[in-house]
């Protein structure tokens, strides 16, 4: 099976390091749980049963219930779907906007690169949380606002990365050869440059997932992120935070998956960096 052996060997290399293995397991588990969350959660996450409010863990409710008697386990499971959805959509959005900008800035006309860098610097220097707060209040909170804010602040990272890659690759022999053979700008950018920047892009995307998940949870914790009834880890934490003195279960259980996924994806990203960019690794 020579066709399958390359990805398999790649996975083996990731798993050769304990932290990489942990990251890989977390990433796979998180994705599976998020995709199947509606099927595997024992209760409807929005089902309210006030009689059973703020119960501790029991056989019926493995992780207890919240202040409205909703099953915490189900809410956490379905919350992973929210986290996955927000991170996938906002990172895709940021990368599809940022990558072409970076390609053009690195390979296109010089004035474009200068103007773009200036704009990116401006975005970077905005105090993100405060800007997000203002925007969310003006536009109204919701899935797409959260995604938009996160994507807006992630675009500079991707554009810079692709620009740096393009600059370093732009002078290499195979690009010169392609140009000498009369390849057009579009062909050079998308057929020759972009595929070679993919490794670095993969590393950055993996490292970006935990910060996006953390950001979504943070905004939802402040009550301006994902709105009820859609469960999000952040809003569960917010619910639990009101009852932290009497029933800390809610906060503990909702925080653990957040800790596990953020650490897991970061470990995975570090491991990928070690494998794909051995020179850049500290």
């Amino acid at each position: 099976m020579p066709r399958f052996s390359a990805p398999l060997r790649f996975l083996q290399r990731i798993a050769a390091d304990p932290a990489g293995l942990f990251g890989l397991v977390v990433a796979v588990l998180f994705t599976i749980v998020a995709l199947l969350s509606n099927e595997i959660s024992p209760y409807d996450p929005a089902h309210i049963a006030v009689i059973h409010r703020l119960e501790g863990p029991s056989r019926a409710h493995l992780l207890g219930t919240d202040q409205l008697g909703r099953d915490t386990l189900s809410r956490i499971l379905v919350g992973s779907r929210t986290a996955l959805g927000v991170s996938v959509v906002s990172i895709l959005l940021a990368a599809t906007i940022g990558a072409p900008l970076g390609l053009l800035a690195g390979y296109g006309p010089r004035w474009f690169g200068t103007v773009l860098l200036l704009l990116l610097d401006i975005v970077n220097s905005l105090p993100m949380i405060m800007f997000a707060l203002a925007l969310l209040v003006l536009v109204g909170p919701g899935f797409w606002t959260v995604v938009g804010v996160i994507a807006f602040f992630s675009v500079p990272g991707y554009a810079r990365l692709i620009r740096a890659q393009t600059l370093s690759l732009g002078q290499s022999g195979f690009i010169l050869a392609a140009r000498a053979m009369g390849a057009g700008l579009g062909r050079i950018l998308f057929v020759h440059l972009l595929p070679n920047a993919m490794g670095a892009l993969l590393v950055v995307v993996t490292m970006d997932i935990p910060s996006v998940i953390g950001l979504e949870a943070g905004l939802s914790f402040l009550g301006i992120g994902i709105q009820p009834p859609t469960p999000s880890w952040g809003s569960i934490l917010n619910d639990g935070f009101s009852f932290i003195r009497n029933t800390p279960d809610l906060v503990i259980f909702a925080g653990l998956p957040l800790v596990a996924t953020t650490i897991g994806f970061t470990f995975l990203g570090e491991r990928l960096r070690q494998i794909l960019q051995p020179k850049a690794a500290p």
Binding site: A19, P127, M128, I129, M130, V137, T262, I263, P282
Partner: protein, 277 residues
């Protein structure tokens, strides 16, 4: 909108005129910056107090929080970095994992868990507020947990930076010379290697000050502390725009000030960079 549903047309017009909303956007902007130049940040829509007073009251708390958070980060970060750069492999590996974990976990979650463990369960630190005003011991006591929550991620960053640059510095000729002279390792590390190795970490601190201020929003809300972050959060939720914009302008000024301070600090520590100033 701010006057409630029973406002008459005349009240509305008077209000619009008082806020200057009947002027053009350009004129409003010009008036905002003109007043900013003489230090007037406008007035709170709801209470009528001047925004400068509100921001001035909140500012010391946030600065104290950010500076203490940085203090933790510098102290523990450099300590961890030195440990990791040492000869023991397992220590290096452990510090690397711990610093990545510190960077990865969102700061508001750290704040919540700190609150739960040290305030609710152990009762070591107060859970809310900034301590008795004027009582330094109590204020410092209330500052421990929030500042730790704010600075934790930076401990990780600084540890990694210091480790990397320390390893590089230890390869250099002047360290070799010091070894050849038979100086003890302790003297070599603290006297000759570390002062050079912390320079990259300091430049990162300046850039990271903005992120630190964002983190303080969460810490101030979780620990119910007064501060700029909380002020902005509440002002925006109440649509109290003069307060929000005034506080954000002050934050931006703080950020710029922090950048300048770090540049100056680097110039003091690293004579090579003075030519660029």
């Amino acid at each position: 909108m701010a006057l409630g549903p029973r406002a008459t047309q005349a009240m509305r017009e008077a209000y619009i005129h008082r806020m200057g909303l009947d002027r053009s956007l350009f004129e409003q902007l010009w008036r905002f910056f003109a007043r900013l130049a003489v230090g007037d940040l406008g007035t709170d829509i709801w209470s009528g107090r001047s925004v400068a007073t509100l921001v001035g009251a909140a500012l010391p708390y946030t600065v104290a929080l950010a500076v203490t958070g940085l203090g933790w980060a510098v102290l523990l970060g450099i300590g961890f970095g030195c440990l990791a750069a040492g000869p023991r492999r397992w220590l290096d590996r452990g510090v690397a994992l711990v610093s990545i974990a510190f960077i990865a976990v969102p700061p508001f979650l750290v704040a919540i868990y700190c609150l739960l463990v040290f305030s609710v369960w152990l009762h070591w630190f107060p859970a809310i507020g900034a301590g008795e005003p004027g009582d330094l011991a109590s204020e410092a006591h209330a500052l421990v947990l929030p500042s730790l929550a704010v600075g934790l991620g930076w401990i990780g960053y600084i540890a990694r930076l210091v480790r990397a640059s320390l390893l590089e510095v230890l390869q250099e000729k002047h360290i070799e010379t010091a070894r050849a002279f038979g100086l003890p390792e302790r003297v070599i590390l603290f006297r000759y290697a570390l002062p050079i190795a912390v320079i990259p970490a300091i430049s990162v601190i300046g850039v990271g000050f903005g992120a630190l201020l964002s983190g303080s929003v969460f810490a101030e809300i979780v620990f119910a502390r007064p501060g700029i972050g909380r002020l902005v959060y509440q002002a925006i939720l109440e649509r109290n725009y003069p307060v929000a914009s005034g506080a954000i302008v002050v934050t931006a000024a703080l950020y710029a000030g922090a950048m300048l301070l770090t540049d100056l600090a680097i110039a003091v520590l690293d004579p090579r960079s003075r030519a660029a100033l």
